[in-house]
Symmetry: C2
Subunit: 165 residues, 2 copies
């Protein structure tokens, strides 16, 4: 079954969280890196929704859970780890972070970002990746990473705004 691309659809989000945490545990074991309680907690909080979460919002959530200290360097270090392991992506235009739904294979950061509801959906289009690679190659440019941030309205918000007659 295709589990991808459901951020904008009605779905059982518990599955998203469980899958993400389970994948993270497995991958970190395989890679011999430590998904510590703090790192896991940060990952779980990021996955609490499909909306990119800012570092300081995350700090507030950690403070609310009140289980541990929450100074900025602590959370930024956890975010750095999760970014290195490709368990999360950073949305540059929003200074925010979002969980990666399939961290098992390396891939570029390509997102649809709804201006209205704030939800983000990661897209995986070979046509997009290939066309970017090709355009870069034509310029003699050796790509190491890509970030695509597409803003607009998700299906729900688009319908809703059309309904406002």
């Amino acid at each position: 079954m295709d589990n991808a691309s459901l951020a904008f659809r009605r779905h059982n989000h518990k599955h998203c969280v469980n899958d993400a945490l389970h994948s993270a545990v497995t991958l970190c074991e395989e890679r011999g890196v430590r998904l510590t309680p703090l790192r896991k907690q940060v990952l779980e909080l990021i996955w609490q929704s499909h909306k990119p979460l800012g570092a300081y919002a995350l700090i507030d959530l950690l403070a609310a859970e009140a289980t541990r200290q929450v100074a900025p360097p602590t959370v930024y270090r956890a975010l750095d780890f999760l970014l290195e392991q490709k368990l999360i992506h950073r949305i540059g235009a929003l200074n925010a972070f979002i969980g990666c739904p399939h961290p098992d294979h390396s891939h570029a950061s390509h997102f649809l970002l709804c201006d209205e509801c704030g939800r983000a959906e990661e897209i995986h289009s070979k046509a997009v990746s290939d066309s970017i690679q090709k355009a870069a190659g034509a310029a003699g440019f050796a790509v190491t990473s890509q970030s695509l941030e597409v803003f607009g309205l998700c299906p729900d918000c688009h319908k809703r705004s059309s309904a406002d007659a």
Copy 2:
């Protein structure tokens, strides 16, 4: 002749600056908006190179020219104007701004960014734009703006790093 895509090539950069300023004057006249001395000066400073320039670097440059006051809100307002008029683009991953080489027609913000030398080249590939539009459309997403930031090594820096044997 094709004047595009020369950020990574040897070229007479004075032409870039002159063209950009001339286009800006013309477009602002046509649009009935005011390219004030401050705004023009900021645009010219941004065009001093093909490297994205941070707002505070810009403030330092303005202070160096010593011709006017340079508090952050002043320069951010000028940047906002230039962004609205599409005379510059913002590079989210760098918190920096760069001149648009052809502000006369609206277009997405697609850049190649060299990790080594810092130069940025705007790319215009119909294949890229179309594939993004198509992917978004398939998800029922109504696009309003796009930002693509491709990191890697420009031809020069790639050659140079290959030479380090």
